[in-house]
Symmetry: C2
Subunit: 353 residues, 2 copies
């Protein structure tokens, strides 16, 4: 982490003029432009109190049952990459969005938009991969849809997975619940998914193959919820990376966060790859990591539970929530300086999920 | 209907060699190739008892609550057409798939795959249209997702909507429940959605503008379920048209059906447009019509309830279910002959929804 390259905020294009009034790749980045599109287009049009919480999942009540409900389309390119494929990713991604609401995932739908000419063998391989991922996580894919578009009007395969889970009555997790004094917990090393995709896409070879961290996090979440109360919010830092996710929480909760760079695990090969590619791992997507904001009195108990789970062995407390008049995330670097950790502002890594 | 053109089955290309092993436009047609793709690829991979019922929605149990769950991606082209747009269609389509399971629709998700360069004004217009359609149907869009793909890797906008509804304990509708002696009920005139899209896409002008019949059918379904028991199954005949939907039910229930051509309402302008275009309205998509298979003793009561609803004014009993060793749909034509009404076998009308 010491020789980290410049931040993406410094490298990427400036936010383009709104006057252009067309959708840019950056609108799908999970960073500033995505937030702008949601705020300017979708929230005013679809306005309702559940959507405007901007959590990764909606928590709704059906009669006396609390349900989590979440949707995600996957447009990752390439479709197959070290550590997974679009099918397993689509299952893990939606399970994780349910889990971040504290839900037990139960059922998934799967909808395929296929470009004419796509290989049926590859489609079969991807469907089997989805089933394996679902089965390993004890969820069922119970309904589906298939559409085909003309050659040149799609890109091989896009998959939407939407999920339903149940949420216990005493679980209340939301991005607006972080409070001054809370601790910021991270479940493991960052940047692996994004670098695995990018390396595969650009044909870059490293000494060690970097595999995506794509994984279903719901059993880790279950252990954390069981260990202690006092968890305010959970998020999986996917598009836009750790930085963008923490900024979203800071904005929703109207707080600041101070991070410790030394505490954030980055695998040696990911750090090297990032340096080579001019990327900051803080902005690179993860698909098997989570952040939890936890009341300080419960932080150690939750951390211990994380470290005892196979997907949380490297979990760390990486920072503290601070009171602030403006939402802000800062980081004390390993050089002892402090820098602002902003949201991703460009489109450095499109189609990472 | 008397001067109906040749059937699509006669006009369309023969089913291509399986050896080609790539996805064809016809695999998204809702006809024979779609059924083949589901049977050969998705069912073996994702095998489970809920999915293999092949209904338009899954009925699942969460604790003691029966839920309907359904997903649909919309790739319709053009995005705006007489009678609707991709947004209202996406809301109506998913509401209808829930309603066909006898569910009261409650919540929708909305996921957008946007091609770089798409107009933000159009996106806003579509989001507002979704909200209006949802609000008119008393459902809430509670969660969403936005992805952006590079220019040339999509086609403007694709939308996935996935829905949740509740199903009463005494409602049991499924495509495998048709029995000899049952009546086939149709809620109104056929072919309007497909012709509206095709006319808009191809720039064909008729004397009267043909509007899509896109509508939310859940209140019609509610009235039907309230009127009488004895409804075996409901389906909305979308892709592949009335013919393909009836063939699916016949196959799932292992029965035959005999239809009366005279009883099937087709608006004059749709019949003329079909004749001009060489299409058979039996294969043209609808987005605001339903078929119900009803026990003969209850058929009149259900029909009457349909006719009293604004969306069922032209409802008719169009045929009878017969015992058969092989699933087969036949139709007595207005000329007094009998013809086989097969599933759609080509890709006559791609991207109709």
């Amino acid at each position: 982490m010491a020789q980290r390259a410049s931040t993406i905020a410094e490298l990427s294009c400036p936010v383009p003029l709104r006057a252009k009034n067309t959708v840019l790749l950056g609108h799908g980045s999970g960073g500033k432009l995505s937030a702008e599109l949601i705020r300017d287009v979708f929230l005013p049009a679809l306005d309702n109190s559940i959507l405007s919480r901007l959590d990764d999942q909606a928590i709704v009540r059906v009669n006396n049952q609390r349900l989590a409900f979440t949707t995600d389309s996957f447009v990752v390119k390439p479709l197959f990459f070290p550590g997974g494929d679009i099918g397993s990713l689509a299952v893990h991604g939606t399970i994780n969005d349910l889990a971040m609401g504290g839900a037990t995932p139960l059922f998934l739908s799967a909808a395929f938009i296929i470009e004419e000419g796509f290989s049926i063998d590859q489609l079969r391989r991807i469907a089997i991969s989805m089933q394996q991922a679902a089965s390993a996580a004890s969820v069922q894919i119970v309904t589906g849809d298939t559409k085909v578009v003309e050659k040149g009007k799609g890109d091989g395969l896009f998959i939407n997975t939407t999920g339903i889970g149940v949420v216990a009555d005493d679980v209340e997790l939301s991005a607006d619940r972080a409070r001054a004094g809370d601790k910021v917990l991270l479940s493991g090393s960052i940047g692996e998914h994004g670098i695995a995709i990018l390396a595969q896409r650009e044909g870059i070879e490293f000494e060690t193959t970097i595999e995506s961290d794509s994984a279903a996090l719901h059993t880790l979440v279950k252990d954390m919820l069981h260990a202690a109360s006092g968890i305010r919010c959970m998020r999986d830092p996917t598009r836009g990376g750790l930085s963008s996710t923490l900024n979203e929480i800071a904005a929703q909760s109207r707080v600041a966060m101070e991070l410790e760079e030394r505490a954030i695990p980055v695998r040696e090969e990911v750090a090297s790859a990032c340096e080579l590619l001019g990327l900051d791992p803080m902005y690179v997507a993860n698909e098997g990591k989570l952040i939890a904001i936890v009341d300080s009195t419960n932080a150690d108990a939750v951390l211990k539970a994380m470290q005892q789970h196979p997907l949380g062995g490297q979990a760390q407390i990486i920072g503290t929530v601070k009171a602030s008049s403006a939402p802000l995330v800062t980081m004390r670097t390993s050089l002892g300086t402090t820098r602002i950790v902003d949201m991703l502002s460009g489109d450095q890594l499109p189609r990472i999920c």
